[in-house]
Point group: C2
Chain length 244, copies 2
Amino acid sequence: MRRLLLLSSSKEGNSGYLETAKRPIEEFLAAHQVSANDEVLFVPFAGVNINYDDYFDLVTAALADIPVRLTALHRASDPAAAIKKSKAILVGGGNTFHLLHQLYQFDFFGLIREAVLAGKPYIGWSAGSNIASPSIKTTNDMPIVQPPSFHALQLIPFQINPHYLDQHPKGFNGETREQRLQEFMQVNPDAVVVGLPEGTALKVIDNRVEILGEQPVMLFRNQQKEVASTEALNHLLELDEAMP
Amino acid sequence: MRRLLLLSSSKEGNSGYLETAKRPIEEFLAAHQVSANDEVLFVPFAGVNINYDDYFDLVTAALADIPVRLTALHRASDPAAAIKKSKAILVGGGNTFHLLHQLYQFDFFGLIREAVLAGKPYIGWSAGSNIASPSIKTTNDMPIVQPPSFHALQLIPFQINPHYLDQHPKGFNGETREQRLQEFMQVNPDAVVVGLPEGTALKVIDNRVEILGEQPVMLFRNQQKEVASTEALNHLLELDEAMP
């Protein structure tokens, strides 16, 4: 079982913080009967330049209209119980290496994975979406800390590349996003990558996906790039042997 | 002992491949009496979208004017002997994770480090400069493969950020380079980072540095950013306890 809302980013263009993400989050929670004063657990561990309390306040303020009760994993006196009793899990963006490192460090990795694969709704954006992939090998982030492994939650059978874009600073000779993803495919020839431009998201219910947003979502596999179709992603989800 | 030429990149602006790097490489080799038909060993392991033979040919063609004999580590029948007998080591750019992974994989890490700290001239650009740092935690590259460790050659006591730039695609909400480096400093408060814009390089002879290039090289430490001075870098090199 899986109920996932995987957003590319907290912002789109010049929008306010979680402004465009708020509506899909609200609808996703309502569709899964998370409402009224139900507890939604925020995971702040991708935050590095912002402390966890400030990060929690920022998200709480941005989602104030949604009638749920946000709690924060870093404040829980019994984190395992907090993960269990929450009605949904919300994982914010920041640095993917830091997020995954902390999940391993505090032994939250298995608890969260188990809860989500048992049906607990999971919402992530940016780094929070990245770790729903089999690994963090398609993150755009700087490896500021070494996690024990690049293996991630593997809630889906393909890699996500959040903040996907085709643009490149002029006159800059570092690798383009395209080249980086080609490198990934070269070294990981069986893997599939979904490039999520800002403002887009994937909603995954068991083996069915819905693509949200205006911009085309891109699918990379076999060194090819195409616009991702619902059918192609559904097929990948159906083939997912990791699913219980 | 150390004799290092650490270049930001293989290109600057719209220049040809190694066009602007060629002259400093030639002068550096000549200054260390590497000349005539002396063997310079090229390490191609950062190459991912290009195969090692093609990469070697590309570099050989670009440096054809320099009167040395380029050989390639991936072609050596006895790699350990090839590292030992070469008069200098040349490490090209590409993917830093891949480069470091291969150095560990084939047990070249210790051989190269030992040879360079015994005085063998080392030239790197991009990923090749990055791995001269204590770790690869300030690379811009995608973590397409997991090396056994982020620990790098530690030929210098500070981190390099190659292709350093202050620019950012418009309307893009991923972390800026500045934010990424601030994250690094947050998690690694004692570390120092040198941001090398394209076209710049550091020449390090024992505890003395020379800054090459037109653009200012930036120094990040204690959450501050300043233009790097020769004096500041010399001081860091003098304090380097890792040096034999």
